[in-house]
Point group: C2
């Protein structure tokens, strides 16, 4: 049966069956794992004890260790500039610097970051001009959008950030069909244009990321008839997921495998539950395997009503890294996960940090069906072993805790170093 | 006889004979003229009365009308965004905006601006990393360097301008072999690095343009052992001329034809004399024919001691456009040129603007061999006809005026609108 799309697919990868996708990704993953283990300084060590023959495809990824964005600055310090993650295949075209500092390579390849797919879903077509308001200096957002637009045959005005008056002047003369940038900046430009009497009616679509698209801004664009699509991506990974005209969640890019795991772990959460976004980039030059982004999202059931068959996630739901200091010691989500591993009777747990009479307090809320009276005392001992801090342990009914990916909740009204 | 170069040529165009170059450029010029007349809105009019069959090569370019950068803003206003100059062949990749505003296209082609040649002569080689401190937003300087570096197989860090501390941090980690940017900024970065104890010894060459390389800055780089090469280019034209390790003038790029003319005219000056730089870009998509840059330079005799056989010019010698207002009326270099056309007895002329007793004054200094007593009065009448202003005419001995491209010299100690 032919798949009918609301719009036009960028290529036939978007409409393949789940089985065809899994098979193709299994093959790509095998090549990536092999190259990573063979020639990446970092992964040759990380994968030393992993039997690659036992990883038959995306479903076996849990056998592969997690690499954390939170650890990248330290890795880079030890092995500049790429933390030893790149393989011998990498021949960089551009290289970038992000806060950390972390350095990201662009492999010498057309549309390395795969943004053409997201821009196509936004409606960008060959011959269209994209007014690109992402920065080109240091960080790769500007280059990502540009490479995607050029790859699909569109033209690009590298506008960068700021300079609103000049943005209006240039857009009035160049008549771009599309904008890319943060969700708010186009509104700033359009409002300034109206104040100046400049005609920017050529801009009929926008691809936005890097910030929240708030309802009143969405309503402003809707009222103007501007089609606005969002995407989720990072400087190291490029495109992770993108919106289509169905506005029915973010569809995962065909070049990555996304897992949603309990924050601080590599353990998948139940379908639909919020968790940390783990991305495997299917790239032999830059093999980011189970890369923990530190971002929260959740999987959406089924597929998009636009007809694209890929898995979907919700947008960005917050930061997954809830590490914080209590009485001068760090507590981490992976410590909460460790408690659940030690006590399988804990169905779900949440560590609530508070402050009382000038001192930090910790309460571990646990969902459990165990009636055993001594269970909370046993768990409290484990908390002390794992965190070197005391906590009060509170039983709650199964299902009582919100499943929003938050493992540590800090209720103190100030943060202390 | 094989040509021996001080360094290695980028390609064999650089070492071809003058005849081979003229023949190849004649062929390219014919194609450009034909396409321009056929499909460029602007050039189809500008070339309407020109018999293209009579233009047999670079030597016949004087038959083609001059297009002035000074007129571009007005042309752009009438026909945005490119003033009607582009041909039907143009499929833009990126488009840029420069003050004016003028908009410049990049045709969809590898190294459209031809900067690979200049960077190669600087010493950049495949696998080297270029720390590129030109801006990428709005104007094309950043993209020009980047396209050249990527085209020759080097990598690029798009650093942009400013952020000196972060520039030092990134360069220390990325270990670039080369810098590109304005002449002074690398010194700022290196001095900051020294203050921070950061090791930037990886940077062993620099390609600089967009400003004067002053002797003490040159000495700073020399003392450090940094090879510094300059180039001359513009946003519309890309590379015009570049320095080689011989430091023996700027060698004209193989993709353009350069003429040196009396400012405000299309008339070539005598060899070695300063004049306005007129550039013909041999590009069927963006056929800038005899484009008057408004810059002054002069031709150097012979060829570079590095072995490259192309024509050479000195660096930038100032602005050619010396138009100024006298008693509320503009006087232009082309009006001075018109006086020389009317009176062939004038070998050389210079209009000196001054101020005396609260009023503007004009003195036309003329080199002439005519002994005829009434000649100065005749010329004074012509000045009034051509400029609608009175001038005192002063005879000077042939050779007495400096041949520095200055046709109008304003000695008033303030400028008035």
């Amino acid at each position: 049966m032919a798949v009918t799309l609301l719009d036009t697919p960028y290529d036939d990868l978007e409409t393949r069956s789940a089985d065809a996708r899994a098979a193709a990704q299994a093959k790509a993953l095998a090549a990536v794992l092999t190259e990573a283990k063979r020639t990446s300084f970092y992964f040759s060590r990380a994968l030393a004890d992993i039997d690659l023959d036992a990883v038959h495809g995306p479903a076996d990824l849990t056998k592969v260790p997690v690499t954390r964005k939170a650890d990248m600055a330290a890795l880079v310090q030890k092995n500049p500039p790429f933390g030893g993650l790149a393989t011998a295949v990498l021949k960089p075209a551009r290289v970038f610097a992000s806060p950390g500092p972390i350095y990201e390579p662009e492999a010498r390849r057309d549309d390395f970051w795969r943004y053409a797919r997201a821009l196509w879903a936004t409606g960008l077509r060959p011959g269209d001009l994209l007014h690109n308001c992402f920065a080109y200096h240091f960080t790769p957002a500007g280059a990502m959008m540009e490479a995607g637009a050029l790859s699909l045959g569109a033209s690009v005005f590298p506008a960068g950030t700021g300079q609103t008056d000049q943005q209006v002047e240039a857009a009035a003369a160049l008549k771009p069909a599309a904008y890319s940038g943060t969700p708010d900046f186009l509104r700033t430009i359009l409002e300034k244009a109206e104040a100046h009497g400049a005609d920017l009616s050529s801009i009929r679509m926008a691809h936005v990321t890097g910030g929240a698209l708030l309802p009143d801004t969405r309503a402003f664009y809707d009222a103007r008839g501007t089609a606005v699509m969002q995407s989720y991506g990072t400087a190291e990974l490029g495109l992770i997921a993108y919106e289509s005209p169905a506005h029915d969640g973010l569809i995962v890019d065909e070049g990555v495998i996304v897992e949603i795991v309990a924050p601080g772990t590599g353990d998948p959460v139940a379908d639909g539950e919020a968790g940390e976004v783990l991305v495997t980039l299917l790239d032999t030059a830059w093999p980011l395997l189970r890369y923990a982004t530190g971002d929260l999202s959740s999987r959406l059931p089924g597929t998009s009503s636009c007809g694209r068959t890929g898995p979907r996630i919700r947008g960005w739901l917050g930061r997954a890294d809830q590490s914080t200091k209590v009485k001068g010691l760090f507590v981490h989500p992976h410590q909460v996960a460790e408690l659940r591993r030690r006590h399988p009777e804990i169905l779900h747990a949440r560590l609530v940090i508070g402050r009382e009479a000038g001192a930090d307090t910790m309460v571990l809320q646990i969902e459990t069906e165990t009636a055993e009276p001594s269970f909370t005392a046993t768990v409290a001992d484990s908390v002390q072993t794992v965190t070197r801090l005391r906590a009060k342990v509170e039983r709650v009914a199964p299902g009582a805790l919100p499943h929003d990916g938050k493992t540590i909740v800090d209720t103190r009204d100030y943060r202390h170093g």
